[in-house]
């Protein structure tokens, strides 16, 4: 599957036009629009009618996107190209992004780590537990803050296996922790430790590393 790519100067102009025309879809790539619109609109409708919390809408949107644009279908080469997410946000689903975020250009194109469709796709990718049901299960009861903490810590590139293990172990530690923001603290610890440690070579491999990471926090 090939998704077109747009650069910032094109995105900026297109966004100005969207602001003037009320963020409506203009007819680009009808097949792609048809593929995205139905499932995403269902989520957005529930969100705008307050049936969903913001976080639930983000997770459900992420799961839809991850199913439509799975790594097997588009490849991580495309998924890491912010130009395709700008295209999807501005040309294919502007009304849907607007329904979630309103007139916030950072969420459409301007800040690469804040583009909504890209952010929720990568959050699901970094949390993926092998299938949709298992992934949804570990993500329930989290908040939008977890999305930010995970996706915005890319550094020189994500360690996908490590992130998935942290997300896998998080619910158990979160339920018994007295720290309200356990995930944020663990991610900060992790960032500091990774400067001098490779989790997969440490005792117990990545699983042992993550267990020690959470335990070190609960002992504080």
């Amino acid at each position: 599957m090939i998704i077109p790519h747009i650069v910032n100067s094109v995105a900026e102009e297109a966004y100005k036009r969207l602001q003037q025309t009320g963020f409506s879809y203009k007819g680009a790539n009808p097949e792609l629009r048809a593929m995205l619109y139905l499932p995403l609109n269902e989520i957005v409708k529930k969100f705008t009618s307050k049936e969903y919390k913001e976080y639930t809408a983000d997770i459900e949107a992420g799961l839809v996107l991850y199913s439509l644009f799975s790594p097997d279908k588009i490849g991580l080469r495309s998924a890491s190209d912010e130009g395709i997410w700008k295209y999807l946000s501005i040309e294919i689903a502007p009304d849907l992004v607007y329904a979630r975020w309103g007139d916030k250009e950072n969420r459409f194109w301007k800040e690469k780590r804040r583009i909504w469709l890209k952010t929720v796709w990568w959050f699901i990718h970094l949390s993926w537990q092998g299938d949709e049901e298992s992934t949804r299960k570990i993500l329930q009861d989290l908040t939008t803050d977890e999305i930010v903490q995970l996706v915005e810590r890319a550094g020189s590139g994500y360690r996908v296996d490590l992130n998935r293990e942290i997300m896998k172990q998080l619910p158990a530690y979160r339920s018994k922790s007295t720290h309200r923001d356990i995930f944020r603290v663990v991610m900060k610890f992790n960032t500091a430790r990774l400067i001098a440690t490779e989790p997969s070579f440490s005792e117990g491999g990545t699983v042992g590393y993550v267990r020690r990471l959470f335990n070190s926090l609960s002992q504080r």
Partner: protein, 313 residues
Amino acid sequence: MLDRQAAARIGWMPESFRFSCSTPDVDPESNGASWPGPVTLGHQGIWNPVEHDLFLEITMRFNPATFFGAEGIACSNAALGIVLEWTSPESSQRGHSNIVPFRRESGKVKATLFLRFDRNQFRGQVQLSASFYVVEPDSAPDSAERHLANRSGLCLGSLGGTCSLFFDGNGSLFPFVEYAGLPDDALWRIRYESSDPCEDLFVADMVCLEINNRHPDYPAYKGVDGQKGGTPMERQIVASWLTMFLLILKERNPDVFECLKNDTYLKFSDGSIAHFAHYLLSTFQINRENLQNLSATLNKVVAGQFLDGAGTL
């Protein structure tokens, strides 16, 4: 930790550097791979990162005897390992090869490290570096060795130099892009797409020097293929482009530019536009007092770099 002297003492050298691909008759042959150094993949136009995977096999030899003991970097009875690590901010991924373990009694080590890059997973550049880790700690370190790193998974440092694999582009570390404009269009122009220079990478998608290869002066710019040091016109264009680049950065992100100009703390990502600007301004001691001085020192720097045959900044 491993420092430059310690790395030099082990006398390491890459013995072989071999690329291959699982598709029959497709050779991702690079432009003379060496370590360290940029490696352009698929320059013969057959291998491409969308359709083809890539295997890399590097064999290294070294004698790690000086690593062990109180004067070294690891306890006498620890097991260490060498690994090839890769990072790709453009692909949002990082990883590592197999680890080859060794001990003090291993003597000279021959380590063969393998990496596999699946098709359609990578874009832009991938940076390689070779690092040493503690694989198994010394269970009873000597009292004189208590200061040494002794926990499995701890990084002891990297061998000097990194190697850039170019999955896309022509292998230039500088973002040159040729396009077919009209003969009366400008010979060159700057494209600056970044909205967040502290995060956006210094790559052609974000900022580049576009050369119009249909301009009548294009042959004078290009010169004879392989001309060492570039043509005088090329040097002038690059110097002017760098001046423009810094001016646009100053105009669009004055707060970022002020931090860079005054060398005050600024948080930026590795490989970002701000990182490049910081490197440019600090490494080459660019005079930032006013536009005349800025332009003059950039001209001097670019001339020096090209004449040295480096061709890159």
